[in-house]
Amino acid sequence: MTDIAAHSEADVVEAVRAAREWKSPLNIVGARTKRAFGRAVAGWGTVLDLSGLSGVVAYEPEELILTVRPGTKVAEIETLLAAKNQRLGFDPADWGPLFGASAGAGTIGGAIAADVAGSGAVRHGRVRDHLLGFHAVNGLGEAYKAGGRVVKNVTGFDLPKLMCGSFGTLGPLTEVTLRIFPKPPLSATLAVRDIVAQEGLALLRRVWSSPLDATGLAYIPASVAFAGLESGAALIRLDGAREPLREKVAALRALLCASDMREIEEGDALFRKLGDGAPFFGNAFDVWRVAVPPASTAGCAAEIASPFWYADWAGGMLWVGSDPQDAEAPAKLRAIAMRAGGHATLMRASEDSRAQIPIFQPEPPERAALTRAVKAAFDPLGLFNPGRMFEGV
């Protein structure tokens, strides 16, 4: 069977019904920028391409609501919202280039499927905190909807949460409604330099626990020296209108008593790069995202002892490079993450590695059974991206 390019919900329904009939799985894709994220599975069936199922259905700036089809490019959405001084609250990261795809090509469907929250998620939450409703097609070939088109809704199960980060394994989305945020009038990024990890991360947590409402809190160690920050740097982004922002910066100085704190240019772009994983572009490391409680980050980073890492989300998210030749690294990383009460996700690795190393933290038996049952509730025949997250899911 050749690729199917869907342009309407009816096309998707037809594709799923055909897949059912032929018992042939569907490989659901958007712009194909993150194809190398997930388990490498041999013999995936037919490509169901949703990039043509695109366009804005409704944008209501005063309701803070945007409804689009899944193939709409995130970059187009950001342009549309910027014209009304609004933005996507989860601060979308563009992971395409990490996998060798061109920048700015990813779709909103892909962003939801991979839960691509960037640096700003430390303040406003991840994609799952912003997807209000969706239309999709289930494994029975039925079009259905869930959630709603208003910002506050508890009617029925919150299926939109489940769709975020499910990598298409629960079915193709055909329409999504997102919550929108106002764009801050201004932002300032401040860097405290010459600071070692332990102290830099503690400093970020102090800001995180203050009412300054920081929208970016990252630490880059000296060994990475990204963007000319050669000596170990804690980065803090604050938002606001001119006067309030000035006061926030002053309050930050008072809070930290940091002598060497300077505002840096292009702070938004820098945070965006950190969210995108840009320090790893073009190098040979396997790339991991390790989520740990922020207070454990410095200890975990020391124990992992990678020469190449940085921390985002006030330390809650560690980006770690590991040597692809080091066969011990995956198990070691996972054990460290688990002891800290966190988990590790393998973002970038060779196809061979992704066929052998679990991509997501392996689940204990009861949880794994539930994962399989939830999968079957949406996709009883296992038609949607089978095996992309876990074997048999």
């Binding site: 029925g156 626990s209 606001g240 922020p294």
Partner: protein
């Protein structure tokens, strides 16, 4: 609303069920009539039913043992926190075990370094804030019942409050849970990290109304308390002008901590009740609260005042001090008792509408009220479009309860018709169960029920809530059979 017929087979086994529960929680079983009367409903007061038996576990292991027994014996369970649900989420059943979590009321850990609190399900919402406020933190979701309602209930109902637009609902402030599943096994979802691995099951557990499992521990995000909070009141001679003000505030990029609207009837009721000083000549008032650091709040308040005047507010008043601020809020918070004084019974409805539809919805509601011949008023979380019509009636007058329910149902159908939803924060429960088809197709509901089956294939958790029809879980074309019995034997089969 029709409550389900009781399962005679379970009723016949009552003695043995009570004995089994006593062996699990010797000092925590309520089985006498007077004792069960204390648990016979929640804040949806029109519905009462005594549980088969009530059990009050103290530990996670006891919860697991109860669920293991319930699964083996094929007896349904209804989880209960403080019983403050406005939608009947904790309404007991005469043929089900009521599991009250109120004795599991310890705060397990306060972790300032990771900005979270780990609590047992029976801890009250307000107790979380009380435990951390000395260090300058608070827990953001603040349902109006926060003095009584519990963390477990908040998770089950995905509770909101007046600060949702800025700070989100429970689900956005919940980092993790430990949940006891059907059969008693416990799993942990999330933790102290921002984000979890695998499917976002934590996201579906929040707001699942006790249909998927029993939360035995929750990890909640705490926030640094904003140093400055200021509040203003804007009065409008017509509702569209107030609606315009709300739209303009949002369009200006301001996210207030709270933005509350009250209609004329509500203003009159609260002025008669506690005289908070709302202008009686207004068709609607807005209370707008901004929080943050000083300059941010001053800037926000100044802009909101300008926007309100431009939108046609005839009176704008900022609270000069904490006492006046408390007075402005006192009126809003008294809406319930103020209306309650006008009639013996009240229904508090809870729909969400697109904000722009407010004038239309209020006008149509006034027309409906004439047909139903009932008193009502509206409070509205204007920031997030969450509308709370309060309908007053007298249950002793024949037909009034039915009329009030039909009026409420028509309002909620209207909310859906203008692009909104049936419930913004109270949950579906039994109250809106039969209205679900107004918002969701059969296919939509069947998909949700398949998720339910993935967690609870025997259908033992909080049956009769949320879904208008119970469809038995089907596994490979066969009805699920547990302990030799099919679920809901008293239901007609397709």
């Amino acid at each position: 609303m029709l409550l389900a017929e009781l399962d005679a087979e379970i009723l016949a086994r009552r003695r043995e069920i009570v004995a089994a529960l006593r062996s699990i929680v010797p000092d925590g079983v309520v089985a006498d009539d007077a004792g069960l009367a204390a648990f016979d409903g929640d804040a949806l007061t029109a519905y009462r039913q005594k549980a088969l038996v009530c059990v009050l576990p103290r530990t996670k292991d006891e919860v697991s043992a109860i669920l293991r027994y319930a699964a083996e014996a094929g007896v349904p369970i209804v989880p209960r926190g403080a019983g403050t649900s406005l939608s009947g989420g904790a309404l007991p059943r005469g043929d089900a075990i009521l599991v009250s979590l109120t004795r599991m009321n310890r705060i397990v850990e306060i972790d300032y370094e990771n900005r979270c609190v780990v609590a047992e399900p029976g801890v009250t919402n307000l107790a979380i804030t009380r435990a951390v406020e000395a260090r300058g933190f608070y827990y953001a979701p603040d349902p109006s019942s926060q003095i009584a309602c519990t963390v477990g209930g908040n998770v089950a109902e995905n509770s909101g409050g007046i600060h949702c637009l800025k700070y989100g609902l429970t689900t956005n402030n919940l980092l993790g849970v430990e949940i006891a599943l059907a059969g008693g096994a416990r799993i942990t979802l999330g933790g102290k990290t921002l984000g979890q691995s695998g499917f976002d099951l934590l996201g579906v557990v929040a707001g699942s109304e006790g249909l998927l499992g029993v939360v035995v521990e929750a990890t909640l995000r705490i926030l640094p308390k904003p140093p400055v909070t200021r509040t203003l009141l804007a009065a409008f001679r017509d509702v569209p002008a107030a609606g315009q003000c709300v739209a303009d505030v949002i369009a200006a990029g301001i996210i207030p901590a709270a933005m509350e609207f009250m209609d004329r009837r509500c203003i009159e009721a609260v002025e008669d009740y506690c005289a908070p000083g709302y202008p009686r000549d207004a068709d609607g008032v807005l209370i707008v609260e901004i929080d943050g650091i000083e300059a941010e709040v001053s800037d926000g308040i100044a802009r909101v005042i300008a926007i309100a005047r431009a939108a046609g507010a005839h009176a704008v008043r900022e609270a000069a001090d904490e006492a006046e601020r408390a007075r402005l809020w006192a009126g809003r918070k008294a809406a319930f008792p103020a209306m309650g004084r006008l009639a013996p019974d009240m229904l508090c409805m809870d729909g969400t509408i697109p904000r722009r539809a407010l004038p239309e919805v209020l006008a149509r509601m006034a027309a409906m009220a004439k047909d139903y011949d009932l008193g009502f008023c509206n409070v509205f979380h204007a920031g997030d479009g969450n509308l709370h019509p309060l309908i007053i009636f007298d249950v002793m007058k024949p037909g009034e309860l039915e009329r009030a329910e039909e009026f409420g149902a028509e309002i909620l159908r209207l909310c859906v018709a203008v692009g909104g939803v049936l419930t913004g924060e109270h949950g579906v429960g039994v109250e809106k169960r039969d209205l679900m088809p107004a918002m969701f197709s059969e296919t939509d509901l069947a998909q949700q029920q398949r998720l339910k089956c993935a967690f609870d294939s025997a259908g033992l958790f909080n049956p009769g809530k949320v879904f208008p029809t119970l469809s038995a879980c089907v596994e490979q074309g066969h009805m699920h059979v547990k302990a030799g019995r099919i679920p809901f034997p008293n239901l007609p089969r397709l």
